[in-house]
């Protein structure tokens, strides 16, 4: 049935691979899509999850539900994806200059053209909320690989800092520097598209 709650009962849960696609396909697909923002990639990750799940069936102890177990595998695949993606030698994220004055008397202050503008208060309206969501998704996809990885793993998956650093090969202070850049860039991108 695709329930996502981990049952607290003491039943032994079992696995039914024949029913995986029908019972859990959409749920896993949506989970993956919300983490990687690409239908193609999401499908790949779901497929990898099923394959890994079939290989790991013997180690399933029945203490969690089938869907919980599958999601934990999918989470792992998401992490692997971002680890691979962010290890690409890319131009460092200094491509994005932070929106603050670099020197002078106002060093560290907002550069006025890039400072936060007033946002309309309309997000209670479902139509505007949907628009906002699309803008957010677009802007997330525009983040440079490493910043996107940090944002998804730290903020969306809520993995603890040490583990994120282990996966992405950064120091804890690097992590926050990148998170800072990611959120500044995200905000700026959203504002540009949203206020158009």
């Amino acid at each position: 049935m695709g329930q996502s709650k981990d049952n607290q009962d003491s039943r032994q849960h079992s696995l039914n691979p024949d029913k995986w696609v029908d019972s859990h396909g959409d749920y896993l697909y949506n989970y993956a899509y919300s983490r990687v923002n690409s239908k193609e990639l999401a499908e790949d990750l779901v497929q990898e999850t099923f394959v890994a799940g079939l290989r790991a069936m013997k180690s399933f102890q029945g203490r969690s539900t089938e869907i919980t177990w599958l999601i934990s595998i999918l989470k792992r695949k998401v992490i692997d994806h971002y680890r691979k993606m962010s290890s690409n030698k890319e131009i460092t994220s200094s491509e994005f200059s932070r929106p603050f004055q670099k020197d002078g008397a106002s060093q560290g202050h907002w550069i006025m053209e890039r400072a936060p503008k007033e946002w309309p208060d309309e997000l209670d309206d479902p139509i505007h909320q949907k628009e906002f969501r699309l803008v957010l998704e677009k802007c997330l996809s525009h983040l440079p690989d490493k910043l996107k990885a940090v944002f998804v793993l730290k903020f969306i998956e809520e993995i603890n800092s040490d583990e994120v650093c282990k996966e992405l090969g950064c120091t804890p202070s690097n992590l926050w520097v990148m998170m800072h850049r990611a959120r500044l860039r995200l905000r700026e991108c959203i504002e540009l598209k949203w206020l158009k």
């Binding site: 396909g25 949506n30 983490r35 779901v46 560290g108 503008k117 969501r133 998170m179 504002e191």
Partner: protein, 98 residues
């Protein structure tokens, strides 16, 4: 400005955060607890800085939307597998069963 005042201003500038640093702490605070002093410094900066307050507000809005995005509601799926995708996945499951 008197020398004394100048020294005090310089001292204050060391204690007061600039917007770059303030937004950095604000971002960190969304996921982790800040140290006492940093927390205080951030609050003080926000009290006097309208732009950073706006940043924090907007960050919150974004965070709420991200939370909504990552919470999968089986009654309102954002995307759905097509017939082809389902069939393809079923084939893969079939192929890899032992």
């Amino acid at each position: 400005m008197s020398k004394m005042k100048e020294i005090m201003m310089k001292g204050m500038n060391k204690v007061m955060l600039d917007c770059d640093h303030a937004t950095y702490l604000a971002v960190k605070e969304e996921s982790e607890k800040l140290g006492c002093i940093q927390k205080l410094q951030l609050r003080m900066h926000l009290m006097g800085c309208k732009l950073c307050r706006a940043f924090v507000e907007q960050s919150k809005t974004i965070s709420e939307e991200v939370t909504s995005m990552k919470t999968i509601d089986p009654d309102h799926y954002e995307v759905e597998l097509t017939e082809d995708q389902s069939e393809s996945l079923k084939k893969v499951v079939e192929e890899h069963k032992n």
